[in-house]
């Protein structure tokens, strides 16, 4: 028995050693394979008819509706036109997407095209050299038709690293029937908005639906107030960049006080702090809230046949109301370009990747498809087809009528840490009921420690 167990132990040891050496050999062999693979691929990208597989990484897992469908349609179009190209799409939803993109960046994974969020997140990728610089001159002219100023959150040190896919801007969607039936005036000033809120509340209708759990809407709402007060789109961005201070500035103080009024007069729905995007949207689409503070990407609501018809006929768009005595106009639009695409530096098929990227971003592909399907408002000039819903027309008017745009949402213009801290400051303000001064102090701290 003793002998027996000893020999068994030896056998085990030997197997363990063997396993380790096999594993390490495996690793080494694999490395060689990779190198060999990349060099042959590098040699073959020149010939156009060679089979190529491109890797696209995207944050749109749902391929059957909305922007995911639009993205899929562009890809299908491209494959039809270029049968030698295969596109391998990997999709993850927002948070897992961001995490995995970091992992890809850290290991320099050979993706070809990736979805990126402009601002802080893209900046990290740029610092790491993971995304390619683009030549803005190539994207001028009628093939692309980018709107002026849309590169702002994709440009670092005057160099362009990605192209925006959408124009995002904050508006107030409202249910016209609820206003009419209750004899409430559609607000054009902030005081009227709060007054309308009180009247709706008295009738037992939720005035404005808010996705409080996601927190970012509060920051946008606050930025809107700052712009309405000052008419200055850059003030809040400067404060985030530490060129100005949140504390001790009368405009910020006033804006924070106005925000406190919205909180204290219960403008937002019951338990808005627990409502995520879907919850706040459903409250509005089910006709139980009169207004919804949200972005332009919800243009598809008016044509979504899953929503009640009564709602679809009554949904309208309202510009964020002016503030009495403020210098801002209601045409100062809080617009930015959040999402976009970039080319990856470590791509194994740089030429094919560029070809696909350019195809996707041309005005008759992504831009046209998202507009036609109502999935978003593109960052490029789009033709009105005449088939637009009333909601889409109103949204177009808001965008084309804008006299100034922000270019970037303040929350995304700092580091990811700033975003986190600032969101928590707003969370504290709305859930914990801290004072306007406290909110500004927290924002100042967030800007300083980012």
């Amino acid at each position: 028995m003793v002998m027996n167990s000893k020999s068994t132990r030896n056998i085990l040891l030997v197997t363990a050693l063997a396993a380790v050496s096999v594993l390490s050999a495996c690793g080494g062999g694999n490395d060689k394979n990779n190198n060999a693979g990349s060099s042959t691929n590098g040699g073959t990208t020149g010939s156009a008819d060679k089979e190529v597989t491109l890797r696209l990484f995207s944050n749109l897992p749902d391929r059957k509706s909305g922007q995911g469908l639009a993205e899929q349609m562009v890809i299908d179009n491209y494959i039809k036109a270029n049968p030698n190209v295969k596109i391998d799409i990997e999709t993850l939803a927002e948070e897992p997407f961001k995490n995995k993109l970091k992992a890809y960046m850290a290991s320099n994974e050979a993706l070809d095209v990736t979805m990126v969020h402009g601002g802080a997140e893209l900046n990290t990728l740029v610092q790491a050299g993971y995304v390619k610089e683009l030549n803005p001159a190539e994207y001028e002219g009628d093939t692309y038709k980018f709107l002026p100023g849309v590169y702002k959150s994709f440009t670092f040190n005057d160099k362009l690293y990605g192209l925006p896919r959408n124009s995002d801007y904050e508006v107030i969607y409202y249910n016209k029937k609820l206003f009419d039936d209750n004899g409430i005036k559609i607000p054009t000033t902030y005081a009227e908005l709060l007054e309308a809120g009180k009247q709706f509340r008295a009738k037992g209708i939720e005035p404005m639906s808010m996705n409080g759990k996601d927190l970012w809407s509060f920051a946008a709402f606050f930025q809107d107030l700052v712009v309405r007060l000052t008419g200055d789109q850059n003030l809040m961005l400067d404060a985030v960049a530490k060129k100005k201070n949140f504390t001790g500035d009368e405009n910020f103080t006033k804006a924070a006080e106005l925000l406190a009024q919205a909180r204290d007069t219960k403008l937002f729905q019951e338990s808005f702090m627990t409502a995520d995007y879907g919850a706040s949207q459903n409250l509005f689409t089910q006709g139980r809230a009169a207004m919804w503070y949200m972005g332009s990407w919800e243009a598809g609501m008016a044509t979504n046949d899953k929503l009640p018809e009564d709602f679809r006929n009554n949904v309208n768009v309202l510009k964020f109301p002016v503030v009495e005595g403020g210098k801002g106009k209601d045409t100062d639009l809080l617009a930015w370009n959040g999402g976009g695409y970039s080319l990856v530096s470590s791509s194994k098929h740089p030429e094919e990747a560029k070809k696909f990227f350019d195809y996707m971003m041309s005005a008759d592909q992504w831009a046209k498809i998202v507009w036609d399907t109502g999935a978003a408002v593109p960052a490029q000039k789009y033709e009105l087809t005449g088939k637009e819903s009333e909601l889409q027309k109103q949204l177009t008017e808001v965008l084309t009528g804008a006299t100034s745009t922000a270019g970037s949402i303040a929350l995304d213009s700092g580091t990811p840490k700033f975003k986190d801290d600032a969101q928590n400051a707003f969370g504290k303000f709305f859930a914990g009921g801290s004072t306007p001064e406290q909110l500004l102090a927290d924002l100042q701290k967030a800007a300083e420690t980012q």
Binding site: M1, G68, N99, Y277
Partner: protein
């Protein structure tokens, strides 16, 4: 016990059972609603127009079958490895005398305390270098590594309560070490093994973060990805997601129903001495 106290007790148990079952009822109920009916004021809603489409979506667009097969494969291999390793380790720690035994026991148990998500990025880098990303092994290895410490902990506690006389008589009868471990000890520790199997199963079945980081190929993805297939950038198709979750939870419920008695035994059995 008088009749009235008995009734009160029954009512109490019924309420507890209902509270326990409520999430499940809620899940099934809402899987028949369309996304726009979610978050209404009523807690449960009778589906006046049941959305069977949700289940069709889950099956087709959620690629349920393929992901299910992947999940089943990864989970069963992980369970098998975990059981074999925990059992043999447990035996080595309780019955065998060797020099660094307590040191290694401590090291293995330390594994319980390491949060798996902290190991995510280093693991990704290592696996990529070894060519293990985009393979079943890339999930099976970390899942096993995470499950073995707890399994070993449960099994050592349990084994200490088994009298040594059993093995002594087995040795007298000429059984070698493998026979002792797998034919004498394994059946005796069955309740603890079932506990290990079930906890490992639940952990692997629901794990998403590692899978999402290590896998890019659609052909290898596991069930939690199925839910993800219905998530848009801002809003999601909740109805179909709920349908996926109902389908995903069925195997878990079946396993729990089968092993129910063993689990309760296993959790407490080693407790006295462990």
């Amino acid at each position: 016990m008088t009749k009235s106290t008995k009734t009160i007790l029954w009512v109490f148990f019924l309420i507890v059972a209902l509270v326990q079952l409520f999430p499940l009822i809620w899940l099934v109920d809402f899987s028949f609603l369309s996304s726009n009916e979610f978050y209404s004021s009523s807690v449960l809603k009778w589906p006046s127009d049941p959305q069977w489409q949700n289940y069709i979506n889950a099956w087709v667009d959620g690629k349920f079958l393929r992901y299910f097969i992947n999940s089943a494969f990864v989970t069963s291999v992980t369970i098998l490895l975990t059981v074999i390793l925990s059992l043999t380790l447990g035996y080595a720690f309780t019955r065998m005398q060797w020099k660094l035994r307590s040191v290694f026991f401590t090291i293995i148990l330390l594994g319980i305390m390491i949060p798996i998500h902290a190991t995510l990025l280093p693991n990704f880098a290592i696996f990529k270098a070894l060519g293990l990303t985009n393979s079943y092994l890339g999930l099976i290895l970390p899942y096993t590594a995470v499950s073995v410490p707890l399994g070993t902990f449960i099994l050592t506690g349990f084994m200490r309560s088994i009298p040594r006389a059993m093995e002594e008589s087995a040795v007298v009868d000429g059984a070698n070490i493998y026979r002792i471990v797998f034919q004498i000890i394994a059946p005796l520790t069955a309740p603890a093994l079932v506990t290990v199997i079930v906890t490992t199963f639940l952990n692997c079945w629901n794990e998403f973060i590692m899978a999402s980081t290590f896998l890019s190929k659609d052909a290898l993805k596991t069930l939690p990805f199925s839910v993800m297939n219905f998530a848009g950038q801002y809003s999601s198709d909740y109805g179909s997601q709920f349908a996926v979750m109902v389908l995903t939870s069925i195997p878990a419920i079946v396993i729990y129903a089968i092993f129910n008695e063993q689990i309760t035994k296993g959790v407490t059995a080693g407790a006295v001495k462990g």
